[in-house]
Every structure is written in structure tokens, then in C-alpha cells.
Symmetry: C2
Subunit: 93 residues, 2 copies
């Protein structure tokens, strides 16, 4: 079953599925600022658009565009700023 997830009152939506070696989601973020919490570690890949990201414990924001990816440790938070609708792939370890 393809799981439809909604966060931040529908400003972030994703579709959950199983890939060959684990769980993933593909999703879209509306323009805005978001704080996410991780359970397991995950890798985020920007599909189309742009994200500014601040990982927990860091003090500089990094910008990721189409095809760029970043790793997020498990049991941590990360902040994301999005200026235009942005799609992403999230791979859970």
C-alpha cells in the first residue's frame, strides 16, 4: 500500500513505499520553514527545487538544489527553509 503522509497542515506531503533495501518516501514541500525530527538516520535528496538546511548542532545553513543530498543522523532534528515548491526523496537507513 502506498502511504500518503501529511505534515504541517498539508504544507508537506509525502508518499511512503518500500525500496529494495529499506523504506523511502518521495514528497513535496510548500514554501515555508519546517523543523523535522528523525527516528532512524536518513538521507534527503532534492529532486526539484531548493532547500536551505540547518542540521542539529550546526550553526551554518547549507543550500541544496536539484540532485543534491544530505545525511541526517538518527534521533535528531533538522530545520529546512523552502522558497518555492520543492520535491525530495527521503531514504531511511
Amino acid at each position: 500500500m502506498i502511504q500518503v503522509n501529511e505534515y504541517f497542515e498539508g504544507s508537506v506531503k509525502s508518499l511512503g513505499y518500500t525500496r529494495t533495501n529499506g523504506k523511502s518516501t518521495v514528497g513535496v514541500m510548500e514554501p515555508g520553514e519546517y523543523t523535522f525530527n528523525t527516528g532512524s538516520a536518513e538521507t534527503m535528496i532534492v529532486i526539484e527545487g531548493r532547500m536551505e538546511v540547518l542540521l542539529q548542532g550546526e550553526d551554518t545553513w547549507t543550500t541544496y538544489g536539484d540532485g543534491n543530498s544530505f545525511d541526517v543522523p538518527g534521533n535528531s532534528t533538522f530545520q529546512v527553509k523552502v522558497a518555492t515548491q520543492t520535491s525530495y526523496l527521503c531514504r531511511y537507513d
Copy 2:
């Protein structure tokens, strides 16, 4: 607004959004066989998984895996066979 689309009784779901130069969707297909109709021309990119594709007027199926893409003319149909959950990006021209 992020549009949630469902096709084939939920076996294919997608999220619609606007990219910098047009409309796109990211979606997931359950294992199965599907026939899609296009309005405008589109480019399909496999994100994770595998698709076997038969374009209208062709007689050989072509397999596309992660990162592979294919173009579909407007106002045409294409058939897709999927053996495992597969995510994709569709860019509308």
C-alpha cells in the same frame, strides 16, 4: 497547494506541484500493469525501482531503472509493467 492524485484504485499515487519552468509530479506505482494517457508531452524519470515501458506505436518493451528517463509524446498512451514498488518523477512539458 500540493495536489494528491490517485489512479487505478490507489495503485498509483502522485503529488502534483509547480517547478521553476512547468508542472511536475512525484509518484509511486504498486506492482502491476498500467496504461497511461498523456495530454501534453512528458518526461518520466525513475527515482527508485524499475519500469518496463511500451510506448504507443512501438513493439518492444524497454526497462528503466533508477535515474533512467524516457520521453512520452503528447496525446498518446504508454504501458508500464512494475514488479516492485517504484517511485518516479514526471515532468510535463
